[in-house]
């Protein structure tokens, strides 16, 4: 995200910082990779649907090729003891990446009981009790939005 912003806003000046933040706000509530969706919308703003296509393909193309190469490597060498030990070490770091991401985002939550109640409820349901994720999203998601909406009116 940092690099996307630097390239589009600072280097090429294709979009202003304000536009970038505005579209980022939209991208964050769309499903899927946030950077990808943001890039699509910026591409569309610059050059219509063909711009969106070019931007999306440009963002994903090269990393996808590299990822596939890694995957093929894993399929061939994934069971070698040395590769297994390296991946084990990386798995511990990757766990830390996810947890720090979650912690970093939670520091931006308002210090009120309701948002934290939802964090706890969702974690208990999905993480600990293995309630199907879609069921949780379909029930707790609308409740969370509705409560936030109701709190706004007051």
């Amino acid at each position: 995200m940092f690099w996307v912003r630097r390239a589009l806003v600072h280097r090429h000046r294709w979009v202003s910082d304000g536009e970038f933040i505005e579209l980022l706000g939209v991208a964050q509530v769309l499903p899927g990779p946030v950077a990808f969706n943001l890039t699509l919308m910026i591409g569309h703003r610059l050059a219509g649907y063909r711009g969106a296509l070019a931007a999306g393909a440009g963002l994903v193309g090269a990393p996808l090729a590299l990822t596939l190469a890694l995957g093929i490597g894993y399929a061939h060498f994934g069971t070698l003891p040395i590769v297994q030990s390296m991946l084990r070490g990386m798995g511990f770091v990757a766990t830390g990446l996810v947890l720090s991401n979650a912690l970093g985002l939670s520091s931006a939550l308002p210090r009120q009981p309701v948002p934290w109640l939802f964090v706890a409820l969702v974690f208990t349901a999905v993480g600990l009790l293995h309630v199907p994720l879609l069921l949780v999203m379909a029930t707790l998601g609308p409740c969370a939005v509705a409560l936030t909406w109701a709190a706004r009116d007051r």
């Binding site: 946030v34 990446l97 993480g127």
Partner: protein, 172 residues
């Protein structure tokens, strides 16, 4: 056949992946490991970690899962399933000219879903904690990663490389 059912389930799950793919990881894990038995828990975490090591959108670990399960068809199915919901909704948004992320409902939607997304991310962390084969040394590496990332601006790739090195040298 596998690629087909993989596409359908991944597509449905990814449609709910508000805030990035990490939010639906527990659902993907449950489907691939517990329900279908296509991968072991360890393979899943291996591929997730490997996906973080590639540059670009780090959601590409989903592609690796698909590739491992059903070769090229699997990779294609997983990648499309991951990107299509975003493509459809992004184009819908720009077509509707939904330019105002500060409309009251948009704010309520974003603020309301933030805790749900965070709860899901903690669940994803928990999935990895349970299946990456953590011992005390592994737990120490995870905690050190969390501390370093929250306090410094270190590149995560460096930490992943350090993790690989720690693994290869037999520290963990």
């Amino acid at each position: 056949m596998e690629a087909g059912s993989l596409f359908v389930r991944f597509f449905i799950l990814c449609t709910f992946a508000v805030g990035g793919l990490n939010t639906v990881m527990p659902g993907l894990f449950h489907y691939v490991v517990d329900e279908q038995g296509w991968l072991t828990a360890r393979q899943f975490t291996d591929l997730y970690a490997l996906g973080q090591a590639a540059p670009g959108p780090n959601a590409l670990w989903v592609t690796l899962i698909g590739l491992q399960i059903a070769s090229w068809q699997g990779a294609l199915a997983a990648t499309l399933a991951m990107l299509l919901p975003g493509i459809l909704f992004s184009l819908l948004m720009v077509t509707l000219q939904a330019r105002n992320p500060n409309a009251p409902f948009a704010i309520a939607f974003r603020r309301g879903l933030a805790p749900v997304a965070i709860g899901l991310m903690f669940s994803s962390g928990w999935v990895l904690l349970r299946s990456a084969g953590h011992d005390w040394a592994g737990l120490a590496i995870t905690l050190a990663t969390v501390g370093l990332l929250l306090r410094t601006k270190l590149n995560p790739l460096l930490l992943l490389a350090a993790g690989a090195l720690a693994g290869a040298s037999g520290v963990v």
